[in-house]
Symmetry: C2
Subunit: 332 residues, 2 copies
C-alpha cells in the first residue's frame, strides 16, 4: 500500500495493519529465522506467537526512523527484530501477570501452556533479543533497550500495585503508561536514530516522537478497551477494568462528582456484568470523557509530529507522520 493510499485510509476508522510495507516482510522473515533454531515446546510457543501476528509497530519505527537518516542496514534490521522480541517477551509475561487467557483472538501462551512454560518462554525471547544485539555488537541499541526493559518492569509493577485503587491520579496514570508502553517506542526511535548515525539533538527529537506516539497509542488502547469491538481487539471487552486496571477514562469518571460514588462502588464491589459494562461506556460518552481523552491523544499526536519538523522530506518521513494519525483512528 502506498503512502497516499495510507493517507486516504486515515479519513475513517481503520484497522491498523501494515501489510504491503516492504520493511514488514523483511522483519517477518528475520523473526522466523531468528526463532527457527528453537526446539520442542520452545519452538511450539515461538510458532504460536509468530502466527498470532501483531502490528510490528516497534520494528517498523526502528527501521523508518533509521531510514529517515540513512540507508537501511543489517544493524537496523537486527535492532528492529530485537525490539519486537522484547515486545513479544513482555506480552507473554504481562499475560501471566494479568491472567489473560486470550491475546489476538488466540489463546495466550499462559492460556495454552500454563504459567510455568510462559515464564520460561518469555525469558527465552528476552534472551534471544539480547543475543542478537550482543552478537552483532549493537551496543547503542542495547543501551536503549535495557533502559526500556527496566522501566517497563517498573511500569507493570506500578500497575499491579495500583489495582482497584480508586484514588489513582492522572499523574500516576501517566507515569504508568510512560513506563509500561511509551518508553519502548521511545527506545525504538532513539535506537533507530543512533544506529543510523543521527546527531544528539536528532536522537532526542526522534525519541520524543516515539514517546508521544507511545502515549497516544496507549491512551487509544485504553479507550478501545472500554468502547471497542472485542472481536476486532482480539480480547474480551473491558478486560482492564475487570482486572482493576483503572485507565484515563475511568480516572476521569472517578473525578466527576456526579459519577464518583457510582463508579467507585462498581470498582470496589467488582460488579462487572455486561449491563454494567455497557452503562460505564454510556457514562463515558455522556460526560464527554471519551471526547476529552481523544483530545489528549490529539495533543500527543501533534507533539509527535512536530518533533519530526527537522527531518527532510522523504517516504519515511511521510510514513512517520501518518503513523500517529493511524493510531488516532485505529479500531484495533
Amino acid at each position: 500500500m502506498s503512502v497516499i493510499e495510507k493517507q486516504k485510509n486515515i479519513s475513517r476508522p481503520i484497522k491498523l495493519d501494515f501489510k504491503g510495507i516492504p520493511e514488514l516482510e523483511l522483519i517477518e522473515l528475520q523473526l522466523i529465522e531468528v526463532l527457527s533454531d528453537s526446539k520442542g515446546t520452545v519452538r511450539d510457543m515461538c510458532s504460536h506467537i509468530l502466527s498470532a501476528g501483531g502490528k510490528r509497530i516497534r520494528p517498523l519505527l526502528v527501521m523508518h526512523i533509521g531510514m529517515a537518516f540513512g540507508e537501511n542496514s543489517d544493524e537496523l534490521i537486527n535492532t528492529a527484530v530485537a525490539a519486537e522480541l522484547i515486545h513479544m517477551a513482555s506480552l507473554v509475561h504481562d499475560d501471566i501477570v494479568d491472567e489473560s487467557g486470550i491475546r489476538r483472538n488466540k489463546q495466550s501462551i499462559n492460556g495454552k501452556w500454563g504459567n510455568n512454560f510462559a515464564v520460561l518462554g518469555g525469558d527465552y525471547l528476552f534472551a534471544k533479543a539480547f543475543a542478537i544485539m550482543s552478537q552483532n555488537g549493537l551496543n547503542n541499541s542495547m543501551n536503549f533497550m535495557v533502559e526500556a526493559i527496566q522501566r517497563m518492569c517498573y511500569g507493570e509493577i506500578l500497575q499491579a500495585e495500583d489495582r482497584y485503587n480508586t484514588e489513582c491520579t492522572t499523574e500516576k496514570y501517566y507515569e504508568k503508561i510512560t513506563c509500561k508502553t511509551a518508553t519502548l517506542l521511545e527506545a525504538c526511535c532513539g535506537a533507530g536514530a543512533v544506529v543510523a548515525g543521527a546527531r544528539e539533538i536528532e536522537i532526542k527529537l526522534a525519541s520524543e516522537y516515539g514517546l508521544n506516539l507511545g502515549l497516544a497509542f496507549q491512551i487509544t488502547d485504553d479507550i478501545l478497551d472500554l468502547t471497542g469491538i472485542a472481536s476486532v481487539m482480539g480480547k474480551p471487552k473491558c478486560e482492564d477494568l475487570k482486572n482493576g486496571i483503572l485507565t484515563l477514562p475511568i480516572i476521569k469518571l472517578l473525578e466527576n462528582q456526579d459519577y464518583h460514588n457510582w463508579i467507585e462502588n462498581i470498582i470496589e464491589d467488582r460488579q462487572f456484568n455486561d449491563e454494567i459494562i455497557d452503562m460505564v461506556g454510556l457514562a463515558l460518552m455522556q460526560t464527554g470523557i471519551i471526547n476529552e481523552c481523544y483530545e489528549t491523544i490529539r495533543f500527543h499526536i501533534e507533539k509527535a509530529k512536530n518533533c519530526l519538523d527537522f527531518l527532510p522530506d522523504s517516504m519515511c518521513k511521510d510514513f512517520l507522520l501518518s503513523l500517529p494519525e493511524m493510531v488516532y483512528k485505529r479500531i484495533n
Copy 2:
C-alpha cells in the same frame, strides 16, 4: 578464612559458605549498590532477595578465574555482579515454575508477592544484569551470558516437559542439568577468563572447569534434595521428587529391576508422604545408588580440577581447586 583453613574444612561434611573471602564483600557491596536505585515493591523484592543471601558461587568463579589470569578489575566485578543477578532472576522465575513457596528458609518471591510480581521482579533483575554489561561495554561477557540464559530457559523447559516421566534417561538428565545449571557456571568461567585477557585454549579449559563444576554441583543438589537436611537446605525435603522432577538417583532406581515397579507406582500415583519419602531414601542407599552418584560427582570433580593444570600456582588457583572438593562435601 585462609585457603589452608578451607582445605582443612573439606575433610568433613561442610556448609558451603564463603564468608571471609575478600572478593565476596566486594560483590555484596556492588550488588547492594546496583539494586539501590529501585523503588516501591521492586525495592522490597530486591531487599528480600539480597537478605536471603546465597553462596555467590557464580560471581566468585568469575573473579577467581579472572584473577588467576590477571589483576582484579572493574570489568571483572561488573561481570561477576551481572552473573549473580542473572542467577537471582532465574531463581525467582524457577520458583514460579516449580510453585515453590520457600527458598533459603525464607518465603520465595512468588510465595510472598504472588506470581505476577515475581514474573516482573525476575525480569527486572535480568534487565539490571544486561544494563550493567551494556553500560560498561562488556560485550564478551554479554556473549557468554546471553548464550547461557537461552540454554537455561531451554533446560528448564525440558525439565517441565519431562515431569513425572518415568522413562527419563540418564542422557536426558545430563542434557537438562547441563542446560539449567552447568551452562551458567561454564559461562562465568569463560567470561572471567575472557575479561582477564586469557588465550583461546585457556578460555576453553576454564569453561570446561566451570561446566564440570556445575554438573558436580547439580548432582550433589539432587542427592541432597533426597537425603539432605531440610533446615540446612532451606527448603522442604524431596521437593524435586514431589514436583515430578526425576533426578539421577531416581532415574537409577527406575533402572533397577528390583525397584522399578515400586518406584514407578509411587511416582505415577504421586504418593509422597513422609514414610514413602524415607523409604525411597533407604532404597537409594541399599542399592548403592547414592554411592554411585557420588562416584559420578567425583568423576566431574577430577575432570574440573584437571582443567586447571595449565594455571600457574596462585591463591586463586588454590581456591578454584578447593571449590570442587567443597561442592562434593557440601550439606547445603
